[in-house]
């Protein structure tokens, strides 16, 4: 399962498995266990399979034993370097995103709401590139249909972009590039539901791929001028004489300095510097006549600043490097870091002129990174869980069943849909009793594909829309077909259900249905293959002969933190009972199902959630 360019001599993996389990139950690394906060680099003597596994898990999404061995075979500096200062040439096998072709020029600029669209259409005779009918019933229906078409199509296409990205996460030979893009995606969070344009999200993602390990200052400027962010933070309505603070506030509060390092006045002054910043389609523009050209007073400086100069002043503040370096550290290492460590990391980033790769190198080579509090202590995010599971299974792409976006969404993380502009809180917030059970269910869906799976890009999730579709097919007129269907006998209809059918110039519910129909005509379907697994072959290739070795191999390959001995015994007994023998050789021809059950049990363990 090796991908170019890492080639090396194979080590006997069974030997590795046994070696792993003979170490302590958590991934304790002798000699480094108590090196918390020590940023001095580890030595060759400290470097082994365990350290390499930990590095690959954090700097990337984990991998197969073979991939870990490849990393372990390098020197520690070589290993860290190969991940952080990656070679783009390693990824020649990855394809660019294939667009479905859902967009057309008539859709620009897209109005902020359905009422705004119909108002525009009534005022000018057309909207979204569609003319209003001269006569007849529902003259605005085609416009409304197109409105809903774009919302649905962009949402579906965004899901495809997420799939394309997830495929990269699984298949990339430069996993740190993807992991860093994931970090920036959470840091510079924008939500598809508000941006409503998959192209802007793709542009932003490509920016994170390209600039993710370069200068943070350059990235901040690029994001501040990026249409996705401008649209998400209402920068387009930030005008001279009436500055909108949303943009300036979030830049300072969330992206660079954190609360407490600026005043409300600083926010209002900064907002003035960003006035006139807007976008047309996918291009950043500055509307000079809407730009406030007067002097601003910001963080103790005075001058006729524009947005870029504001960002540069922010970069001069000591707190900025510390804030960003700490956040990067918490994402890759652990949640709690001391003030002195935070300052040290801030210094490293600042002295490197905000070069992120320099900071990452320092973190990944440090003794602190391999100390006990840093290892096996991170609750995997839903995306990390899914991708690392797929990588550990040796898959080369993300299965279409279960649906990646549905699966990670059920675990509370949906790419391109962070809950707020603050992104995902991370850490322990990934875990609740409900979510723990969901994680076990995700594993089950991968190992035992649901034969009743319904592709969400083919069947609309709203029962209302499905009901409208059925009634239209049966020949009902639009008014009858779009009555709310859920009212029970004698029940009191809620206000919101009574509002639905008032306007005669168009029918919203019909537009919603028709828009969905138009969208699925255009959007390329996501391939629905399941995970191609053969656990029997996996064990066979390792020369596993009995159930104890089988369980130990699976535990070693899939878990970074080993469970209790009682759990291990339970798994072995379970396998014995299900196979009717302790001999793997004996059970060769029928053991696939049983192995998958064991793996499901493993993936349902609390310890499996740790990376």
């Amino acid at each position: 399962m090796l991908r170019a360019p890492y080639r090396f001599a194979c080590l006997a993996v069974t030997g590795i498995a046994l070696a792993l389990l003979s170490s302590a139950s958590t991934a304790q690394l002798a000699g480094l266990a108590s090196s918390q906060d020590d940023l001095a680099p580890i030595t060759n003597a400290d470097w082994n399979f365990e350290t390499a596994a930990h590095l690959l898990e954090r700097a990337g999404f984990g991998g197969t034993p073979a991939q870990i061995e490849a990393l372990a075979a390098l020197s520690p500096i070589g290993a860290v370097n190969s991940l952080v200062n990656f070679e783009p040439a390693n990824n020649r096998h990855l394809q660019a995103f294939e667009h479905s072709g859902i967009h057309d020029a008539g859709l620009e600029p897209f109005p902020p709401s359905r009422p705004a669209t119909t108002e525009l259409a009534k005022a000018t005779g057309q909207a979204l590139g569609i003319k209003v009918k001269q006569e007849g019933n529902r003259r605005l229906q085609p416009v409304v249909n197109k409105f809903f078409y774009w919302l649905r199509a962009s949402r579906l296409e965004t899901n495809r972009v997420a799939y394309w990205w997830a495929d990269r996460m699984v298949a990339s030979n430069n996993p740190l590039q993807e992991k860093m893009a994931l970090f920036w995606h959470g840091h510079y969070a924008v939500n598809q539901t508000k941006v409503r344009d998959y192209r802007k999200l793709l542009v932003e993602l490509e920016m994170f791929h390209e600039m993710g390990t370069g200068s943070f200052r350059d990235l901040m400027v690029a994001v501040a001028q990026d249409p996705a962010m401008l649209s998400f933070l209402d920068a387009g309505v930030n005008l001279k004489g009436a500055p909108n603070e949303n943009f300036a506030r979030e830049i300072m509060e969330l992206f660079t300095m954190g609360v407490g390092n600026y005043s409300e006045t600083d926010i209002r002054e900064a907002a003035r510097a960003f006035t006139g910043w807007n976008y047309v389609d996918l291009d950043f523009v500055i509307n000079e006549d809407q730009h406030d050209n007067d002097v601003k007073n910001f963080l103790g400086h005075s001058g006729n600043f524009d947005g870029v100069e504001i960002i540069d002043i922010i970069m001069e503040q000591p707190v900025t490097a510390e804030y960003i370096a700490s956040k990067i550290y918490r994402f890759f290492v652990r949640e709690e870091l001391s003030q002195s460590l935070a300052e040290e990391l801030g210094n490293i980033l600042r002295d490197a002129d905000y070069d992120v790769a320099t900071l990452l190198n320092a973190i990944f080579i440090s003794k602190d990174f391999y100390s006990a509090p840093s290892v096996g202590s991170q609750i995997k995010s839903p995306v990390q869980l899914a991708i690392s599971t797929y990588r550990k299974l040796g898959l080369e792409s993300v299965p279409g069943v279960p649906d990646f976006n549905q699966a990670t969404g059920a675990l509370s993380q949906s790419l391109f849909r962070p809950p707020t502009v603050a992104g995902w809180a991370g850490g322990r917030s990934w875990m609740t009793p409900g979510l723990l059970l969901e994680r076990g269910n995700f594993a089950r869906d991968v190992l035992f594909p649901d034969i009743n799976f319904v592709p969400p890009d083919r069947v609309n999730g709203s029962s209302e829309i499905r009901s409208v579709a059925d009634r239209i097919r049966q020949g009902l007129d639009i008014t009858s077909a779009t009555q709310p269907s859920s009212l029970g006998e004698g029940g009191i209809m809620a206000e919101s259900n009574m509002l639905a059918d008032r306007d005669e110039e168009f029918n919203t519910r019909y537009g919603s249905f028709r828009g969905w129909q138009m969208a699925i005509e255009k959007v390329i379907p996501i391939p629905r293959h399941t995970a191609r697994l053969n656990l029997s072959k996996m064990l066979d290739e390792r020369g596993v002969e009995n159930t104890t070795e089988a369980v130990d191999y699976l535990l070693a390959r899939f878990m970074r933190v080993q469970p209790d001995n009682s759990t291990r015994s339970m798994l072995i007994s379970f396998l014995n009972e299900d196979l009717g023998t302790t001999s793997i050789t004996e059970a060769q021809t029928y053991m696939e199902d049983s192995l998958r059950l064991v793996l499901h049990l493993i993936m349902s363990q609390p310890e499996f959630q740790l990376g």
Binding site: V259, M431, T432, G488, G491, N497, F574, L601, P606, L610
Partner: protein
């Protein structure tokens, strides 16, 4: 509404019983709640339940409970101010946003207390910071635990299972507790282990925390235990739940609360929310805001009706809040920016309906153009913990004595 009615005659009888109490919904001046029960103040023993509904994003209180009687409102909001003839008038000064039929009825039935001008000193205009203050009852300070979590620790220090329920995709800081593991789930149908029969026994076992040192691992083992304790209860409760009540477009998870109450879940504290900063109406506010308020109003009204249907309406009080109100003058995008003081609502059969607190001035604004708070929000928390749950340890819980409104009969 969740399912089709199975037994029509029974449901019709239940509905009629419920509707008898609803005849007061037509235009009748505020009637006060039923005769007060001589209830002991021991909240847990008497089965008193508190439900908190969080509206995230900063709900614009001024366009929710509109002070049409004050000209300044229209001067400050020439475009987004709601004309009097569109409002749902409740008295000679206020009217509800047009979408809020449910709130209008509840108020006129005397079941809704509106507390004006709630906020705190030195307000934060950051969603996350201000919400954290409301969650911890520690404004301009901070606390590791949420006020609801601390309340649970205080009332029930032995931390029985399933005492605190938070319905959501992640755990809210408000319920973060030192001793309790809040039951947090989102879709009850998915709050279950989808396992093969053969695996059940193996999956039911959660090893002892014992000498586990890795703190993340200890945390996960606690979660696993709570999941096992709660999931069957929650799922069974949800599958038995069958209500004809119309909650509108978005029930805000209140149906799940009713399902759990009806199934006898031993929970005293429920936390639900209208999520994802939905109320953050910076641009083109009116259509969107009206929709949000309609859904909220429908959900709350449905909730109260449903509680009456299961005979628990006297046991439940619902508190509704947001992390801040919005700026008094509108902005150029026909929306509003982050503000400060806001209205809070307390709803329930035992609530003494009406207006509480001093109305903040619309002309003498704080911090440039924001409502100055007149009631510390912790006073409302205290009114509920003391007046409803009978818990008098506010010094510990809220960091002081903020006094109380007499909100309950």
């Amino acid at each position: 509404m969740k399912k089709n009615n199975k037994d029509k005659t029974l449901d019709r009888r239940e509905l009629l019983a419920g509707m008898a109490g609803l005849s007061a919904m037509s235009m009748v001046p505020p009637a006060f709640a039923q005769a007060a029960q001589a209830a002991a103040a021991q909240a847990v023993a008497s089965g008193k339940v508190l439900v908190i509904l969080e509206l995230s994003g900063g709900n614009d209180g001024l366009n929710t409970v509109v002070p049409y009687g004050d000209d300044a409102y229209y001067r400050q909001r020439p475009n987004i101010g709601i004309p009097k003839n569109e409002l749902r008038i409740i008295d000679d000064h206020f009217g509800f946003n047009p979408g809020m039929a449910g709130f209008e009825s509840l108020y006129k039935d005397g079941k809704m207390a509106i507390v004006h001008g709630c906020g705190y000193e030195n307000p934060s205009y950051s969603h996350f910071t201000s919400m954290a203050y409301w969650h911890t009852a520690a404004p301009n300070s901070g606390d590791e635990y949420g006020w609801v979590g601390k309340l649970a620790d205080s009332i029930a220090p032995s931390a029985p299972s399933n005492y605190l329920v938070n319905i959501g995709s992640t755990q809210s800081l408000a319920v973060k507790s030192e001793k309790h593991v809040p039951v947090v789930f989102d879709d009850p149908n998915r709050f279950m282990r989808e396992a093969f029969a053969a695996e059940k026994e193996a999956l039911d076992v959660v090893p002892d925390i014992g000498e586990v040192e890795n703190p993340s691992r200890r945390f996960l083992l606690d979660i696993a235990r709570s999941a096992n304790d709660a999931s069957t209860l929650v799922r069974d409760a949800w599958s038995k739940y069958d209500s004809p009540v119309d909650y509108g477009v978005n029930d805000l998870d209140l149906q799940k609360v009713v399902a759990l109450l009806d199934a006898g879940m031993p929970t005293s504290l429920y936390y639900v929310s209208y999520r994802n900063n939905s109320f953050d109406t910076h641009v083109f506010q009116n259509n969107l805001h009206r929709r949000l308020l309609t859904y909220t109003s429908d959900a709350v009204a449905g909730f109260i009706r449903d509680l009456e249907r299961i005979g628990r309406a006297d046991d439940v009080a619902l508190m509704i809040f947001s992390e801040f109100g919005r700026r008094v003058p509108e902005n150029v995008s026909l929306g509003t920016d982050h503000g400060a003081a806001n209205a809070m609502f307390v709803v329930g059969n035992q609530v003494k309906g009406g207006h509480y607190g001093k109305l903040p001035s619309l002309t003498e604004l704080a911090d440039g153009d924001n409502l100055a708070y007149t009631t510390d929000f912790r006073k409302v928390y205290q009114s509920i913990t003391q007046g409803w749950l009978g818990h008098n340890d506010s010094a510990n819980l809220l960091g002081g004595d903020f006094g109380t409104f007499d909100l309950f009969s």
